[in-house]
């Protein structure tokens, strides 16, 4: 198949950037979207032009590195699919495809399709953990955990930290990401001990980073490649409210 790509190019954070058009010939439908970009890039290199920069690593939908807005939708709009797992058979011959980076105030641009998502790391550093050090912990089976709780915790823990939820949100809110971690840990007895401190600190860091407020439109859930559910946001709100009630302040 043949395609036209309209791709965002931006030299660095200071550059204003713009779209560049590339005609791509003989695309194999079995290619992944990133493999198609690899082919484009090889062509550019041979012409002495710098290839299009984009993040990727695992190419299996699990590391959360890939971060492309494809035809206006984060990760391209196929159910539970990251950009790296999107295959060209989902497009049609002759189609024009636009490719853009995540855009959000809290994710500053780096180059082309690459942005800086370190704000997510700082949110985790603020409280997304259980404060246990190595050693001196009880036997793994000492505390039984109801299968339902553990399964639900796993549903939330599957978040890959890609940031599509932020990219899709008109307010660039990070609520789904934060909700996933707060819910995962609050559902496990090991995480319950610190639940209040955690919810308060993570939310405070989220605000400091400049993520917007959540107006529960659900656009995050729609693009989330790990199908993190909106009801985790409700749980985060409950956790946060509970913490405020018990601890006061924000």
């Amino acid at each position: 198949m043949n395609l036209t790509l309209k791709i965002w190019r931006q030299k660095d954070a200071k550059d204003i950037g713009g779209f560049e058009t590339h005609e791509v010939r003989e695309v194999n439908p079995d290619m992944s979207f990133l493999e198609m970009l690899d082919v484009v890039n090889e062509g550019l290199i041979l012409r002495g032009i710098e290839p299009i920069a984009f993040d990727s690593d695992c190419r299996e939908g699990i590391c959360g590195a890939c971060s492309l807005v494809i035809n206006g939708t984060a990760h391209g709009g196929h159910k539970a699919t990251t950009a790296c797992q999107l295959h060209m058979r989902k497009f049609s011959d002759g189609e024009t495809i636009t490719v853009e980076p995540w855009r959000a105030r809290a994710f500053p641009m780096v180059k082309d399709l690459v942005c800086d998502r370190s704000a997510f790391d700082r949110i985790i550093q603020a409280g997304g953990f259980v404060s246990v050090s190595t050693g001196g912990v009880p036997d793994a089976n000492a505390i039984p955990v109801a299968k339902e709780d553990s399964d639900q915790a796993m549903d939330a823990a599957q978040c890959i930290g890609c940031g599509a939820c932020v990219a899709a949100c008109k307010n660039a809110s990070a609520m789904l990401f934060v909700a996933a971690k707060v819910s995962h840990l609050a559902l496990m007895p090991q995480g319950k001990v610190e639940r209040e401190r955690r919810a308060l600190n993570m939310v405070a860091q989220m605000d400091t980073e400049g993520f917007g407020a959540c107006s529960v439109t659900g656009s995050c859930e729609a693009v989330c490649p790990k199908e993190i559910r909106l009801d985790f946001i409700a749980r985060l709100n409950r956790e946060y409210g509970r913490a405020l009630l018990h601890r006061g302040g924000g």
Partner: protein, 637 residues
């Protein structure tokens, strides 16, 4: 050079406890006087960095991804072993030890493996305390499954995302230390040189991938946890960024590289679909618990739809050849068996490079919802990649490079032959011998980082008179200059081929000459072709852009340059090891199609010492002795 593994004396079962007692300690108040560099933030690196910081050391941690949470460990699917015997099915530390030594085809150190089995138990406790949501039973206790050829159920798992959950546990522990200011984290930073002063590892030189700035970092010890080198084959199940650069450059500074030829080919991967292929995807081995592997008995049937081939015309070759292990035969054995049937012309799918993994019987026995509950995410992934529905037709699978047992040589303390350089996780050679068992890499990485290094590094600090080195030392200046010169050279070639095309060519060459079957002839040919390809690279590669900004082409070209040197070492090791063992199959050394070891001549670790450009490396030997386990022919029949 004499390689002393420093294995403690005394009975095997007491070595580690006794050694922990014998090792010197660093006084708590003094720990903050020691600086440690940890390169890598995968399971091994993140667990080490967090644990060392908790103890009070000053830690700097580096990784090339934009976040430590994205290390390749995240992709591990199947599970992690531990000798908990929660299932009451006869598991024990001794059995895990025994299975690992045997599974490794008697090419690992008994003392290391025993320690690994011992600490496996604590790993699960630690991860549960961190909140890792392992699979559970209705009673609320942890669930286990049997995995990768084990006859007991000792594998702990979190759906098909065990690596992800364990890595997030370690990442969160690391994040806590970063938040507390005890670890300084450097993401998007690549280590490009190891700095050695008076024979001791004293620091590293790194390049900031965003702006190209090269800087030096000095420390009292350097820990490499930089993962495996499977991407020397270009196509592998590893993440795109996995590389040999950190370990190979340490090798060039004097660290010996052990058993580079021990590579693992995983039997259950999605077959190649075309020339554009950038990597291969693993289908978790757990699928073999319920899936049955087969090909048509007759070549003529290979083009038919699988459903139209009656049972009597199918060859369930693993069940036929290995009745007691059947579809669960260990990886190396299952991979070779697949190659064999494809070589006979009985492969299926494009290029006839595939075998079926069939769930029809499992669905009939368990029902589709149960199969979906167990493997749903894997079936979904298969469908996304191939466009085929594996509930309705069998999956097609083929072996692919997956894991590398070789790595930098380390002693019992995980220290390389360069004092002060410690190596953890897949980057070292330590515990898996010539073949790794499923679910044992996660175990090893976390054992190294949480429970071994934190003790042994203290012993190193307490037993040495430390000389403080700063980054003003001439060795740092020299290393920085090496890095800058290499970058200038890569950008200056301005040739006509991309780094990818040369890497692809190297990979093909390695796969054909040094893959599942190796011979004197194929390896000799590879040893001639690789230097020529390296020549081609340095005279004809095109690297675009400049040094001063994010330049993925430049990063990648640097890694390919190292693979082009390292590939030669791998083939040389394979040529010199005149026996077959585990994943290393020399066609000259076989008995009825199975590996034939030569214990009289090769019961040893081969560790290679770099001698300079254009010179052949020196092969050193660490003899392996087996006191506890009897050397036997590994049979799974």
């Amino acid at each position: 050079m004499k390689l002393d593994a420093h294995i403690p004396s005394g009975p095997l079962t007491q070595k580690w406890d006794q050694h922990r007692f014998d090792m010197k300690l660093v006084n708590p108040a003094n720990k903050r006087k020691f600086d440690v560099i940890v390169v890598g933030a995968g399971l091994a690196g993140a667990s080490a960095a967090a644990s060392l910081a908790e103890l009070g050391y000053n830690v700097k941690c580096f990784c090339f991804q934009d976040s430590p949470r994205r290390a390749h460990s995240i992709a591990a699917q199947g599970g992690i072993n531990a000798a908990k015997n929660y299932k009451n099915d006869g598991d024990s530390v001794h059995r895990l030890f025994y299975d690992t030594v045997k599974g490794g085809d008697f090419r690992a150190r008994e003392a290391n493996v025993h320690r690994l089995a011992q600490v496996s138990v604590s790993i699960i406790d630690q991860c549960v305390a961190q909140g890792v949501p392992f699979a559970r039973e209705y009673g609320g206790l942890l669930d286990n499954r049997s995995f990768g050829g084990a006859q007991v159920s000792r594998t702990f798992y979190a759906r098909g995302q065990t690596g992800q959950q364990l890595l997030l546990g370690a990442y969160q522990a690391l994040s806590r230390q970063i938040g507390l200011g005890r670890v300084e984290m450097y993401p998007r930073t690549e280590m490009l040189e190891l700095v050695v002063v008076d024979g001791h590892a004293k620091g590293i030189v790194v390049r900031d991938l965003i702006n190209g700035v090269v800087t030096s970092h000095a420390a009292d010890a350097v820990v490499l946890a930089t993962g495996g080198y499977g991407n020397v084959f270009f196509l592998s199940t590893n993440a795109k960024g996995c590389n040999v650069t950190a370990t190979y450059r340490a090798h060039k500074m004097g660290a010996t590289f052990a058993n580079p030829c021990y590579t693992q080919i995983h039997p259950t991967c999605i077959p190649v679909s075309g020339d554009h292929q950038s990597k291969l995807t693993l289908m978790s081995e757990s699928l073999r618990n319920d899936g049955r592997v087969w090909v048509p008995k007759r070549k003529e049937d290979c083009g038919k739809t699988p459903a139209s081939i009656p049972d009597s015309d199918r060859d369930y070759y693993l069940e036929r050849k290995y009745p007691s292990f059947g579809n669960l035969a260990p990886r190396d054995i299952a991979s070779r068996a697949a190659k064999e049937v494809c070589d006979e012309g009985r492969g299926v799918g494009p290029g006839s490079l595939g075998v079926y993994l069939d769930f029809a019987d499992a669905i009939a026995r368990l029902t589709e919802p149960v199969v979906r509950e167990r493997y749903g995410n894997l079936f979904d992934m298969y469908e996304r990649i191939t466009g085929e529905n594996a509930y309705q037709q069998p999956m097609r699978i083929y072996p692919a490079v997956h894991y590398t047992m070789g790595g930098l040589w380390v002693d019992y303390n995980l220290m390389s032959n360069l004092p002060g350089l410690f190596v953890l996780g897949e980057a070292n050679f330590s515990d898996h011998g010539a073949n790794r068992l499923g679910a044992s890499a996660l175990m090893q990485g976390l054992a190294d980082g949480y429970f071994i290094l934190p003790y042994t590094i203290g012993h190193y600090f307490a037993s040495q008179k430390q000389t403080r080195i700063t980054t003003d030392h001439p060795e740092f200046k020299k290393a920085q200059e090496t890095v800058s010169a290499r970058t200038r050279r890569l950008l200056a070639v301005k040739g006509k081929r991309t780094a990818t095309s040369i890497h692809r060519e190297l990979g093909k060459l390695m796969w054909e000459h040094c893959g599942m079957a190796r011979s004197k002839e194929s390896l000799t040919a590879a040893l001639q072709k690789i230097p020529a390809l390296r020549e081609e690279f340095w005279s004809n590669v095109r690297v675009t852009g400049e040094n001063g900004s994010l330049n993925q082409d430049l990063e990648y070209a640097g890694r390919v340059a190292d693979f082009l040197e390292f590939g030669e070492l791998l083939c040389l090791d394979a040529l010199t090891r005149e026996e077959s063992c585990g994943g290393h199959f020399r066609v000259e050394h076989q008995e009825a199609g199975e590996c034939k070891r030569d214990d009289a001549h090769f019961s040893h670790v081969a560790a290679w010492e770099y001698q300079g450009e254009g010179k052949s490396p020196t092969r050193h030997i660490e003899p392996l002795t087996f006191d506890e386990v009897h050397l036997a022919t590994r049979s799974y029949k």
